[in-house]
Symmetry: C2
Subunit: 257 residues, 2 copies
């Protein structure tokens, strides 16, 4: 068996999220359907770095699967893409060691959230940005981002719907916001993210941007560890799983070959 790692991109607009569900069009479902065709009907399960919700996009999601077939990397890409619908594409294919796992080997994930900050919405980007017409204080948002960076219990920034029992402590290596013409782009890099965490953070940061909260309130919000303290989870449309980075272990193993 060979383990194949694929970096994929998808437009989340037309999918009921990543994870396979009966009677719903999902990213996983589309990929496994394509792989089944390549394997003459055999079911090939894929593992992803994590799920994404309905409407959430990916610029660089990572998956892996095991296959009995021996196909060159370049041909894998073409074979899968030919069978995929046009809103999901394989970007890179790499054969990896069996020690690699798309979910368990993750070192860091990067999410972006894009806000269109002008009066009129953009019909061409309605599924790809959050339209937010109110004036924003970017410097205040940047100051609030600095308070989010570091290792914290992010319970306040997790969804009340989450059923995960484990630790809510995560490390946010980087949180920032930059303005480019009418776009405000948020970037978050961390060891891991709780359910809806990016969307709840952006919602709180927009509250800071319009003056509803001060940047200095962030530490107290984190310390409160109360879900439901913050506003509603905002639209998935502006959210992108941008990049997933992995520990180098499998490459080191190969280096001696």
């Amino acid at each position: 068996m060979e383990r194949i790692k694929c970096t994929i991109t998808y437009d989340g607009s037309g999918f009921a999220g990543f994870q396979v569900q009966p009677d719903h069009r999902t990213v996983q479902g589309s990929l496994e359907k394509a792989l089944a065709k390549i394997h003459k009907g055999e079911t090939i399960r894929i593992q992803a770095s994590g799920r994404t919700d309905t409407g959430v996009h990916a610029v660089g999601q990572v998956i892996h699967f095991d296959t009995p077939l021996t196909i060159p990397e370049r041909n894998w890409k073409q074979a899968v893409n030919t069978l995929l619908p046009d809103d999901v594409r394989v970007l890179y294919v790499e054969k990896v060691d069996a020690a690699f796992h798309a979910r368990y080997s993750v070192k860091q994930k990067e999410y972006h959230y894009i806000v269109l900050n002008r009066e009129d919405p953009d019909v061409f980007r309605r599924n790809y940005v959050l339209h937010f017409p109110k004036c924003l204080d970017i410097e205040a948002i940047q100051a609030a981002c600095k308070h989010l960076e570091g290792t914290h219990d992010f319970t306040t920034f997790s969804s009340a719907k989450s059923s995960v029992k484990g630790s809510k402590i995560r490390t946010l290596f980087h949180a920032s916001c930059r303005k480019k013409e009418d776009d405000i782009e948020f970037v978050f890099r961390g060891s891991g993210f709780l359910y809806n965490m990016v969307r709840i953070m952006v919602s709180a940061l927009l509250d800071v941007g319009v003056g509803k909260r001060r940047p200095e309130e962030i530490p107290a919000l984190l310390a409160a560890k109360e879900r439901g303290q913050l506003g509603k989870t905002i639209s998935p449309n502006g959210l992108y799983l941008w990049e997933v980075s992995y520990h180098e272990q499998e490459k080191e193993k190969h280096s001696g070959d």
Copy 2:
């Protein structure tokens, strides 16, 4: 009665073209439905600068309609947008003289066609550009564009499906192509365009770009006046009705008020 001119934008992906058709979702149908609600059920017919086909987008389409209501321009915009689906938006509203006609007063139209010229398609722009992975000679395309400019019989560049009987002579004031990162953007400005003319011109220009034709062949193609000489009409996805300009007559009339 007041005559209202609206500049509108729409994402053509979800519409069966501009013109109203029974049992199909159209731009005109959506606008007239919104206007009927504002007019308590009364049918309000709109006139556009011209139709656009299924999948063709508009950044600045212009329409007009007549109304017995007296509503300020700014409120018209909000009233209509509130009732429209989110893939069509009113950008500007202007009260105009009864001499203005969205179709008959047109002075110039501008179309853009966007080609994504790289190996991989972009899932987020699959409905908004033509993906064309082959290498293109931009200078050759620019030279061919120059041959298209001017007043010509554009029969060769019109659709065989067109049933229009009148003259096929049109004036192309401007035809150009520019590269910006992986995008090739074509711009055409003219007094009027035949059915499918922009898409057939771009198809011929891409033939020039890959070396299938030489720029110097364009004059002979124009002179041939034979429909069906050129390749297939390419995808509507990259095509945008960008701007419609009007004769100043109605403004001059007002200037003495």
